[in-house]
Structures are given as C-alpha cells and as structure tokens.
Amino acid sequence: MVILELQGITKSFGGVKALSDVSFVVEKGQVTSIIGPNGAGKTTLFNIISNFYKPDSGKIIFEGKDITDAKVYECAKLGITRTFQNIRLFYNMTVLENVLVGLHVKAKSGFASFFDAIFRTKGFFDTEKALRERALEVIEFLGLEDYINTLAKNLPYGLQRKLEIARALAPSPKLLLLDEPTAGMNYKEVSEIMDIILKIKDMGITVLLIEHQMMLVMGISDKVVVLDHGVKIAEGKPEEIKNNEKVIDAYLGREEAETYA
C-alpha cells in the first residue's frame, strides 16, 4: 500500500533548479532511501514533504490526501515527523523536555490545556503522566536513559543525533523522515543506527531515509531512489541500484574514486 506519493515535484531557488519533476511512491511499512551526490536536492525534498517549502509545481499525496498546501505545524499531527541534517535540538532543554515537545501533538491543545495547566486539574496530571511514560519509553529505546535531565547541548554528538530521532519518534508518526542520521558517526555508531531503523520499521513505521553510508542504504532499504542535480535518475531495489550504470557514473563511481584517491 502506498503511504506517500510525490507527483512531479519541481522546486527552484533563484537560478538553481533544486528539484525537477521528481515523482516516486513510498510503500507503507518499508524503508525507502534517497541517495545522491551533494547538492542533489535530497534535503530540499524533505523540506517539501514536511511542508517547510512549497513546491513550484507538483503534489504531495499522503495517505490518499493532498497535503501540498498543509501548514508546517500540521505535519506532525498528520503523522509525518523528521530529523535534520544539521541537528536542530532545543539545546537549553533537557533530553526529557525535548522528547516531550515531540509529544506536543499527542496532548489536549488550545485553551483547555491552558486551563488544565493553570489550575493543575486531574486531567493535567493524567496527561503529563501519560506523556512522560511515552517519552521514557522512547528515551530508553534510543539508549538515552542515563541522560534524562541532561541539557541537549551537553550531550555528545552521537547522542544528539539519537535524541533527534527520539523526539521525532515519540508521537509514533506514520512516516519518519531521517536526514543523514549517521553523518559524522563512527562505524560502531552507524551499525547501531542501522539496528534502530530496522526496529522502527518493525514498529510498523514507514521510514524515508537520506543516507551517504552505502553499507546502511544497501543493508536495510526496501527501495532506493537516486537523485542527481535535482533529477531522479534511478529507482529500484538495492541490488538493481548497485548495478545501474547511470548511478555508478553519477554517484557510486564517484565515491569509489574518492576512496582510492
């Protein structure tokens, strides 16, 4: 079953065409990876799916609904959350608080929640308790339980990446967008992230992943989409992509060349 469908997404920034007519579908429950050289338009695509940018043309269909015109803050409620290539945590908040903000959409909103907070009603404590239970569950899942009250800015880099995943995972999204979750990580940490992504998939959450680590992409993806200069040049199972001439020329080849240089 298709959970997300991109139809002819085009986006330019001034003279730069970041995406040209990109279309593909993401199957529910699968891990789909987007690969491509630097500047290929991968992050731009995430920014468009999460409604942070509007496409110049094209449509985003999520669970059969056109969400192209949705507001940024509506995405989490719809069930789409994400992490960022350049970590964006709430640095002066604790690990627990960061995850609790991730759960923002999971609690009563509007004036009712303000009333509950001011008068400390039973509903307030019940909600806070439920939110904390969920937050702790996710914090443990990512192995951050020793850092619950640590400020995000004081976490080591690798754990900051994990906290971002925890925050995005907390509201149990339907679609999780991970933008280079292993950037700057060592081999051991990369394989940890790989395990985590597979477990997230087992939870029934669809994952859309941007990655440069081929080990990870080829190891866990059900499908790989390759972008180059804003154009989709290939799409298919990992084995198909590995042997695709165009991809080797544009991306894999280049990386090999870099390795031996």
């Binding site: 507001k71 002066n92 903000v101 923002h104 959409v105 307030f124």
Partner: protein, 354 residues
C-alpha cells in the same frame, strides 16, 4: 519516577525554597517597619507597593521575553492602557471590580491588536515594532484630551479615583493595599510557574530555542506567540489597576520608553526565564534605587542610567546567565554530561557555588 509525578510538579528545589523564604522576609520588612513606627508614615509601604507593581510587569514580560524569546520593547504600553482604562472608568463612577475587568479586557485587546501584525516579525524587527506601539500609547494618551486630560493627567479638577474596593472589603490604607499587592504578585508568580511547567510552557521555550524545529514538531508557533503575548497583557493591566487605584494620579509619563528598558533589564539581568530571578531583579533594580533616592537625593536618579550600563556590562562579563538563572539554564555551564542522580545531588547545594 512516574509515581512521583505530582511531587515533581509541586515540590520546589532547595534553592527555590531558600529564595522564597528570603523574599518572604523581605516582603515583611516594610510591614514591620510600619508597625514599629506606629503607623505614622507609609513611605516604605508605598515604595513596596510600587515594587509589587513592577514585579507584576516584570513577571508578565518574562513570559514573552524569558520563555518565548520575543524581545518586546513596548511592554509599558499595556501598563498604560490598564492604568488609564481603570482611571477613566473609576472617574465616571464605575465600581472598582467593573473598571478592573474592563481594564483587563482592554489590555488583552490591545495586545491582540498589536500582536497580530507584529508577531510574525523576527528578532530586531519585532523589537522595533513593539517599541513603536509602546510609544504610540503614550502619544495617544497625551493627545486624547477629553478622555485622558492630556499631559495634565488624571483625575482632573473635581474628579476622583476610588479606592480598591471589593464590595464587602475596601482597601483604605497603604498597609491593606500592600498586602493585597503581595497576594496578587504571589498568584501571578504561581500562574507563571504553572505555565512554565506545562505543555504550553515547554512549547514556548521550544519556540525560543528553535522556531523551525518547534513548528515541525507540531507547535503552532504564531498562534502560541500571540496567545502568550495576550496573556502577558493581563499582568500589565493588573499592575496598572493597582497603581492607579493606589497612587490615584497618573500622567502620560507613566508610559516612558525608559521604563520598558528598565523592565527588559530586570528580566534579562534577573535571569532570563527564571521567576525568582525576575523577582530579585525587580527588587534590586527598581526597589533599591527608589529607596536610595531618599539618601542620595535626585542625583542618583540621574546616574541610574549610567549605573545600569555598568551593571549590564559587568553582568555580561561575569554572569551572562543572569543573577538567578532558570533551573534549566543553570546546567548549561556544566562542562560535560552527567548521570541524573549526580545532577540531583548537585542541585541541593549549588546556590553558593554558582
């Protein structure tokens, strides 16, 4: 941990208990002095009431600057709206309760109307726009002669502003007004604390920290900013109401840009986002100079600005986190991550260390 959820929200850290006790004692001093001298002069009580008024303003502004990170340079405008509405209503014979209610509603409306266009602006632009609206209030009040009596102030000849009066209870002495002010400040601080430690408070701080990440986590940034902008107006209005009904004389000079700056300094120097810091800031930067005026004469008032600059400078160099940083920010200065338990133990006696 989950079993203790209620404790977590109701129990205060050792540091906060210490600060609260100290503040309680300070709050009692003017009363003790008043009783000791046999109630002949209420000078210190009157200064203390003004400090309470400033405290309320600072607490309100802390919601906007401290929690949400919106640099509001025109907060004194809402104080003016509250004070003038209360005065005008009272002069026209409305009961204290009615005039107060209208003043609060007017203040919230004012914040809503200026908030709508301003709230989407970022950083410096927001600061300049709010500054403009603050000044606008003063200019309007200055020129709306038939209603405000212009620069001559209210009440005009033959007019009268009533006492604070709850129907069954009327506050006729400075002592009563002071006790009432203390209660209002305590309630204001409590409400502010409860906002901070709630879903809304977390979202506000998240906005301060990273607006984009917050909105992608589902926080409706503009709406929440506007909401807290309006709520802070209640603090401003109540401050204006108490001031008007106690001092019983107001002029457009109540709404000076300088006072907005003083309030921002109180919030920032006190410790951004920290309620105890805001309270101590208001006492130090409003109460103490006000008292010293007695000893040093009006010269000090002139040197106030200079002193402020100096204090600001020293603070930036030696204590950038504020006098009493919020509990959250306190940890910032720790060099490395630590286990939860160690942190909690640390917490107990770190007042003198930091």
């Amino acid at each position: 941990m989950l079993a203790k959820i209620k404790d977590e929200f109701s129990s205060l850290s050792k540091r906060d208990i210490l600060i609260l006790s100290a503040l309680g004692i300070i709050a009692l001093l003017p009363i003790i002095h008043y009783l000791a001298i046999g109630g002949t002069t209420s000078y210190y009580l009157d200064v203390s009431i003004k400090v309470c008024v400033y405290l309320l303003l600072a607490l309100g502004l802390n919601l906007v600057i401290g929690y949400t990170g919106l640099l509001d340079l025109g907060f004194i405008g809402v104080f003016g709206i509250g004070a003038y509405t209360a005065a005008i209503m009272s002069i026209h014979g409305y009961h204290f309760l009615i005039s107060s209610l209208v003043a609060i509603i007017m203040a919230m409306l004012f914040r809503l109307i200026i908030g709508l266009p301003v709230i989407r602006l970022r950083g410096d632009y927001l600061a300049i726009a709010t500054l403009g609206f603050g000044e606008m209030v003063r200019i309007i009040v200055n020129n709306l002669d038939p209603l405000t009596n212009g620069p001559r102030g209210l009440p005009g000849v033959g007019q009268k502003i009533s006492n604070i009066d709850f129907g069954i209870l009327s506050l006729n002495s400075s002592l009563e007004v002071y006790i009432f002010s203390l209660i209002v400040v305590a309630l204001g601080a409590l409400a502010s604390y409860r906002i901070e430690h709630s879903r809304i408070g977390r979202a506000l701080v998240a906005i301060r920290e990273d607006e984009i990440a917050a909105s992608l986590m589902g926080v409706n940034v503009s709406k929440l900013k506007l909401f807290i902008f309006v709520i802070s107006g209640i603090y401003g209005a109540v401050a204006g109401i108490i001031y008007t009904h106690h001092i019983k004389f107001i002029t457009p000079n109540l709404i000076l840009f300088w006072d907005s700056i003083l309030l921002v300094s109180i919030v920032v120097i006190g410790g951004i986002g920290s309620i105890p810091g805001t309270i101590v800031g208001a006492i130090l930067f409003y109460g103490v100079p006000e008292l010293l005026r007695d000893f040093l004469g009006s010269q000090l008032a002139e040197f106030r600005m200079l002193t402020f600059g100096l204090i600001m400078l020293l603070m930036i160099i030696f204590r950038p986190q504020g006098l009493i940083p919020s509990e959250r920010r306190k940890y910032e200065l720790k060099p490395e991550t630590e286990k939860v338990k160690e942190e909690e133990d640390e917490n107990l006696f770190d007042l003198e260390k930091r």
